[in-house]
């Protein structure tokens, strides 16, 4: 059987700089994988390549046997991939619940004409949307801030909104870019519980993360990138004992 997500010898050049160099790996359905490595190793670039924000210079990316290389981002999302950004990119002009409602865009059918004419089903759809959004808000314990603007929230809350918004698209594959960055140990513990719950609901997860307490606890597989190349791939235990990884990355901590 073909893998769920297949990165096949993918490279990305920015002018003369090769940010990602012939990286290959497979992701199994239902797994949690972490991508780690020093700054500038090409971790976020891999996410941008998978989601179509960047195009691979060489190589192919397959999701459920379909080639993603040339598809626009919103098409890739509709196939079941969602992500968060390292700098979150919440819609700061909208409330928390509205951010999540935007995440439910693909689940809705209301178009401009039916909205202007106030067709009855639009109202029903809107109510269902709202109920589903509230479910996510409860899951991420955001009840107290549901009607606040996201710009007014503490960072830890904003991170949870970002994950909830990405999950609102009902993805099969969720890419999280540094979900634990800037959080306290207690907040990391909360994120850990969230990730485990999300995975239990059947969503495959890939993390880009620096915080080893999260990476080592939740991942089944770790991929180490260094200068755009894949340095190692294995279970957390294998990675912790890998001398090359200790030399370039883990040893520095």
């Amino acid at each position: 059987m073909e893998p769920f997500l297949k990165i096949d010898s993918v490279s990305k050049d920015f002018g003369g700089l090769r940010a990602v160099d012939r990286v290959s790996f497979d992701i199994e359905r239902g797994s949690i994988t972490s991508i780690i490595g020093p700054n500038g190793a090409g971790k976020t670039t891999i996410f941008n390549l998978i989601t179509g924000l960047l195009r691979p210079s060489e190589g192919n990316i397959y999701f459920k046997n379909q080639k993603l290389n040339r598809l626009p981002t919103y098409r890739i999302v509709s196939m079941g991939i969602s992500r968060t950004f390292q700098n979150l990119r919440l819609f700061t002009n909208l409330k928390v619940v509205e951010n999540i409602l935007v995440g439910r865009h693909l689940q809705g059918r209301a178009n401009l004409l039916s909205i202007i004419l106030r067709v009855p089903w639009v109202k029903i759809e809107e109510r269902q949307n709202f109920e589903e959004a509230i479910k996510l808000i409860n899951l991420f314990t955001l009840e107290g801030v549901a009607f606040s603007l996201t710009s007014s929230l503490p960072f830890g809350y904003q991170k949870r909104v970002a994950i909830a918004r990405a999950l609102a698209t009902k993805p099969e594959l969720l890419l999280l870019d540094e979900p634990a960055g800037g959080l306290t140990s207690q907040e990391i513990e909360e994120i850990k519980q969230v990730l485990i719950r999300v995975r239990e609901s059947g969503v495959t997860i890939i993390l880009v993360e620096h915080r080893m307490e999260l990476v080592m606890d939740v991942s089944e597989k770790i991929i180490v990138l260094h200068h755009g190349r894949k340095l190692a791939e294995g279970t957390p235990k294998q990675i912790q004992e890998d001398q090359r990884v200790i030399d370039v990355y883990l040893g520095q901590i």
């Binding site: 989601t51 924000l53 626009p72 981002t73 919103y74 999302v77 509709s78 969602s82 992500r83 950004f85 990119r89 919440l90 819609f91 700061t92 002009n93 909208l94 509205e98 409602l101 935007v102 995440g103 865009h105 693909l106 809705g108 209301a110 178009n111 401009l112 909205i115 202007i116 106030r118 639009v122 759809e125 809107e126 949307n129 710009s151 918004r165 990405a166 609102a168 698209t169």
Partner: protein, 330 residues
Amino acid sequence: MKKTQVLITIFILILIIFPVFVTSHYFLSTLVFIAINSIAALGLFLLTGLAGQISLGQSAFFGIGAYVYAILTTKFNFPSLLTLLLLSPLGAGIMAAITGIPVLRFHGHILAVATLGLALVMYTIFVGMVSVTGGHAGISSIPHLSIGKVELNTDVHYYYLSWGLILLLLLISQNIIRSRVGRAAQSIHHILGGSEEAAMMLGINPMIYKLQMYILSAMYAGLAGGVYASYVTFVNPSPFNVLVSLMILVIIIVGGIGSMWGAVIGSVAVFLFRELMRFAIPIAFPTVGGEFEIIGWGILLIGMLLLAPGGLIQLPQHLYQKLSRKSRYK
């Protein structure tokens, strides 16, 4: 929520009873012109306030709406009501649909310049296509709007028509803001805090919503043009020059770009400002002509952006915050 409902009710009541007390032709026709500007500004609010895309092409759509009404009713005897409510907006909307796909690929000022180009081209067509538009001489004896057998031929009629349309369009705008489409549009508003990349990551194709808001804003402007032509009963190119596009943009910025009410408040404020300039400039600089107005626009725009970036609608809140901050330091 309660407070805004009370304010809206008061607003509607004042609108209804106003002509009972004020019967002067000057005041009523002024209010009709303010309403016509508000309709066009409300459309631009949907494009610029919601979706964050700047257009300086609204004068083109305004003109298309007016000429569609003028030509179809005078030369082809089309029914005026159908033409005004459907064909004027449709004509402008079709032009927006054709120009939207190439133009909306641009961002920021380049989009503004591209739409400005459209306004210039359309103005040139209004002036130059003499066989269709009558050139500078324009088209006269345009029939007023008739609803059934009733011809709307007084200022009071047009007052109720134009402000009634505004209430309807405000209601439609409100529905759009709180809908799937409205939220998608707001999610790409990069100036106010949206992000096209984040929106795409949620499955939104930004182009679709830019285009829809662009077409809708053009249809509002087209409707405004139709009302204008049927009220004034004469069109020539001068009310559709490029400065009108600028004025509509100034209206929504002065009124408050974050709220649909900013379009109405801004129209009133900009009208008052313009009257003030007409009165003040000849006294201060007796030798200059009307071109000096544009300096006044610039001062108004910069002043608003400095003193109340959220526009007049947020001015009370803005002043309150400033005052309470000052008193805290004492």
